[in-house]
């Protein structure tokens, strides 16, 4: 495209050049005929223009060339750039590929390393395994060795055991020999036994004789005892007889003593009577003594009283002397007393009269005081009135003065007005003024009088108030005076009354307080009781329904308790019966306790278990029987267990029922080592025993040999 553009520019420049060239030619052609002298100039100018055009064209072309070059360079640049970019891309791609490869290689390296590690580990493991195996091998070797050793030991043991067996067999033989000797000994012993028995019988006989002699002995001893006893009794009797003799010898003496004692008795009785008499006398005397003592005391008291009375009498007698009156007898005293009393009465009367006088005087005094007060008040009123009158007078005087002044003034005005009347024209006005002035004056005067009247009233009121106040003060003073007078007069007489009254008041106050407190306490108590539900039985009563729930509940409870008790008793009886009788009897129908579910289940289980047991037993029995019959049939021997560890074999072909072989299990029960015991039957088979048991050491062979032998014996071929 740029080439095309270059071409177009080239073409355009060429065109322009051509056009330029053509123009001058035309211009040349056009100009020629016109001017002749300016041909050179025109040519010059044309040349110049052409040169300029050529320069321009050259510049254009150079420009174009430059631009072309530039474009080419740009192109080449671009191409180079593109190529470079491509190269860069490719190189980057290569780089990436290289990187990937690198990474792959690295991962591969790592994997290989891991593999190597694993291989190493595996190697190590293998090594260890190998070592373990070696060790195990060694161990196995050791075990093998051990086993060989043990085997060798076992062999040794076996040999030893064989030796032992041999020795045992030898021992057995020895034992058998010993046994035979023992049998001989046994026989000897039996003979001895017979001898011993005979001896025993002899001894028995002797024993019996001995017993009989013993019996006779005992009898004789009894006799001896009896005789001894009799002897003892007789001796006692003899002693008694001796004592009796001595006592009898004492008899006369006793009689004498008895007589003496009787005499003494009589004497003592007499003396007893005397004694009692004397006692009575003493008692009487004692009582007298007591009475006398009492009398003496009374006497003393009376003497004291007498002295006192004497003293009193003397005092009474002396009264006359002390009081200075003519008293010698009590009548005089009474007389004196009466006189004194009369005097007292008189004095009292005088007192009363005096008091009444005093009261009357007081009353009059009060009256007088009140009159005085009234008079004073009146005087004061008068004074007030007077003062008022004086004030009035003064006012009047003042008024008079004022009036005169006014009059004078008015007169002066009138005179002046009169003098001026002729001069001026203002006479009606003046007259009017005068009238107005007069009216004003009158008004002022009336106002004045009113004010004065008010003032007067006020003064009067003040005066009355003052009077009242003074009267009240006077009354107060009078009352005070009365009080003081009263108190002065009655202080002496009524002090005591006042004190007593005050005391009474105080007592009453205290009592009142006490009663108030008591009242409060009682009220509180009452309240409390009321709260608690207490009531006054006089006024109220408490009722409730007969069949109330509490009652019913209590009855119910009692019934329940009774029922429970009865049930308890029944259960206890039942328990006792059960413990005593074992099973529950069917006639226990009074109490039917339904058996609980558990018990029924347990019973069922028990029954089933028993059934199972039963069945198992039967099965076992059957099996055992079967097995035994099979054994008998197959082996030809019936094996019975007679005693623990002993087995009795009876052959099928035995000639007699008692022919049996006895085997004993030696060693552990399950080990199976048996030993043949001696029986009658085994003695007949001694050859077979020697052959099969001692030499061949096989019991089955022995048994089969026995069977064959018996079978051969039985059947006749």
């Amino acid at each position: 495209m740029s080439d095309l553009e270059d071409d177009t520019t080239i073409f355009s420049t060429l065109k322009s050049f051509k056009s330029l060239i053509a123009r001058p030619e035309r211009s040349l052609h056009e100009v020629e005929p016109a001017y002749g002298r300016s041909d050179l100039q025109k040519l010059y100018t044309q040349r110049v223009e052409m040169e300029e055009a050529a320069e321009r064209i050259r510049s254009h072309t150079s420009l174009l060339q430059l631009t072309q070059e530039k474009q080419q360079m740009e192109l080449s640049h671009k191409r180079a750039r593109i190529e470079l970019e491509k190269e860069a891309h490719s190189s980057s791609r290569d780089l990436q590929r290289q990187m990937d490869l690198n990474q792959d290689l690295l991962t591969k390296l790592r994997r290989l390393e891991e593999k190597e590690g694993k291989a190493n580990q595996a190697l190590n493991d293998e090594m260890e395994n190998k070592k373990a195996l070696k060790r195990s091998l060694e161990e196995f070797h050791k075990q093998a060795n051990d086993k060989d050793n043990r085997h060798a030991e076992a062999n040794q043991m076996v040999s030893e055991l064989k030796d032992e067996v041999r020795t045992l067999n030898q021992k057995l033989q020895i034992q058998e020999s010993k046994f035979s000797t023992q049998n001989l000994e046994n026989q000897a012993l039996q003979e001895q036994l017979e001898m011993q028995r005979k001896k025993y019988q002899e001894v028995n006989q002797r024993y019996q004789t001995l017993q009989s002699s013993q019996l006779s002995n005992t009898e004789s001893e009894l006799k001896i005892k009896e005789l001894k006893r009799r002897l003892a009794l007789q001796e006692q009797d003899s002693i008694i007889v001796k004592n009796m003799k001595t006592e009898v010898a004492r008899l006369p003496e006793l009689e004498r003593e008895v007589k003496r004692l009787q005499e003494e008795n009589l004497y003592l009785r007499e003396t007893k009577e005397n004694c009692s008499l004397l006692k009575e006398e003493t008692e009487g005397l004692r009582k007298k003594l007591e009475r006398m003592e009492k009398v003496v005391e009374e006497k003393l008291k009376l003497e004291l009283e007498k002295e006192k009375l004497g003293q009193e009498l003397q005092a009474w007698e002396n009264i006359g002397q002390t009081t200075g009156l003519n008293i010698r007898k009590p009548e005089d005293l009474s007389r004196e007393v009466i006189q004194i009393q009369q005097r007292e009465l008189n004095l009292k009367q005088q007192n009363y009269t005096l008091t009444s006088n005093i009261r009357s005087l007081e009353k009059t005094r009060t009256q007088l005081q009140s009159e005085a007060a009234e008079l004073r008040s009146k005087a004061q009123e008068e004074q007030k009135k007077r003062e008022n009158q004086d004030a009035l007078v003064r006012r009047l005087q003042k008024r008079v003065l004022l009036l005169t002044k006014e009059r004078d003034g008015m007169r002066a005005i009138l005179e002046s007005y009169d003098s001026e009347l002729a001069a001026s024209e203002y006479s009606p006005q003046l007259t009017r003024r005068v009238k107005e002035a007069e009216e004003m004056l009158q008004k002022i005067q009336t106002h004045n009088t009113e004010m004065e009247a008010q003032l007067f009233k006020a003064q009067e009121e003040a005066g009355t108030f003052k009077l009242q106040a003074q009267a009240v003060t006077l009354e107060l003073e009078a009352v005070k005076e009365q009080l003081s007078s009263v108190s002065e007069n009655s202080s002496k007489a009524t002090d005591e009354e006042l004190n007593s009254l005050r005391q009474k008041i105080e007592e009453l106050e205290t009592e009142r307080q006490r009663l108030e407190e008591q009242n409060n306490i009682l009220e509180m108590r009452l309240e409390r009781h009321n709260l608690q539900g207490d009531y006054d039985p006089v006024k109220t009563k408490v009722v409730h329904f007969r069949m109330n729930p509490t009652c019913v509940a209590k009855q119910q409870r009692a019934e329940d308790v009774e029922q429970l008790r009865v049930e308890c008793e029944r259960l206890r009886d039942r328990l006792r019966k059960m413990e005593a009788g074992g099973a529950v009897t069917t006639d226990d129908t009074t109490l039917v306790i339904p058996p609980s579910q558990e018990i029924l289940d347990l019973r069922k289980r028990m029954e089933s278990a028993e059934l199972k047991n039963q069945r198992l037993k039967e099965v076992f029995q059957k099996k055992i029987q079967e097995f035994r019959t099979v054994c008998y049939v197959l082996t030809g021997y019936q094996i019975d267990i007679t005693v623990e560890n002993q087995y009795r074999l009876t052959s099928a072909y035995a000639e007699r029922m008692e022919d049996s072989l006895l085997f004993k299990a030696s060693g552990a029960v399950g080990s199976g080592s048996m030993q043949l015991l001696e029986t009658d039957f085994s003695r007949t088979l001694s050859e077979l025993v020697d052959l099969h048991l001692f030499h061949q050491k096989s019991i089955p062979v022995f048994l089969s040999a026995v069977t064959l032998d018996l079978f051969s014996r039985q059947t006749v071929v």
Partner: protein
């Protein structure tokens, strides 16, 4: 018939309410009695004297209340209530007491006492004063509230209990055949608590509860 329960004796009050409600003639009496029976029923219910399943909810005066369904108890209550109604009308009742006794030891555990002060003059003017339902409800609610409050401090009734109703009347009152005199059944060593008093147009009722002091305190 009775069982133990550690709840308050609201049932009694509620029951008393029903009691009185069922019996009273004048509305003032009715409302008073209604309040009382209701309170007593609630006491019995809450104190657990009777098992809770024997109670059923009943709507009265737009409020749901617990009433007993035990037939024996109902007959007993109606009997007592009819009698009480008469006596209330005559103003011869001084106190109404609900006594809760323990069945095992036969001792009184709680005592709900209602002192009734009757205005005898007002009885003659028996123009029935209709109390608004709201007022009745308010009173019932207040009583229940009070009783619930007392529940908090009343000791638990551990053992089986039974209740009894005692009426304090004038001495010279003739009692019918079914009623008998009894003791006041006081509590030994009791603590007393005064409850709110309320008034109707005729009566003034002071209520209080006394309970046996527990030794553990």
């Amino acid at each position: 018939m009775c069982r133990k329960a550690p709840v308050s004796s609201l049932f009694i009050n509620k029951w008393l309410f029903l009691l009185c409600m069922a019996c009273c003639t004048t509305t003032a009496n009715t409302t008073f009695c209604f309040r009382q029976t209701f309170g007593i029923n609630s006491i019995l219910y809450q104190r657990g004297i009777y098992p809770a399943e024997t109670f059923s909810r009943v709507t009265q005066y737009d409020m749901s209340l617990q009433l007993t369904t035990d037939p024996k108890l109902k007959t007993y209550l109606t009997n007592v209530v009819t009698q009480l109604k008469e006596w209330l009308f005559d103003c011869t009742v001084q106190k109404l007491v609900v006594v809760i006794t323990c069945l095992e030891t036969n001792e009184v555990l709680e005592r709900w006492q209602f002192d009734i002060e009757c205005d005898k003059t007002a009885k003659d003017s028996s123009a029935p004063r209709e109390k608004s339902i709201k007022a009745i409800q308010e009173e019932i609610r207040s009583v229940i509230r009070q009783i619930t409050a007392t529940v908090t401090f009343l000791p638990l009734l551990e053992t089986a209990c039974a209740f009894d109703l005692l009426i304090y009347t004038d001495k010279d009152l003739e009692v019918p055949e079914q009623w008998e005199e009894s003791g006041p059944q006081l509590i030994d060593q009791s603590e007393e608590v005064r409850l709110r008093s309320f008034t109707t147009s005729i009566h003034k009722v002071n209520s209080m509860v006394a309970y046996k002091r527990t030794n553990s305190m």
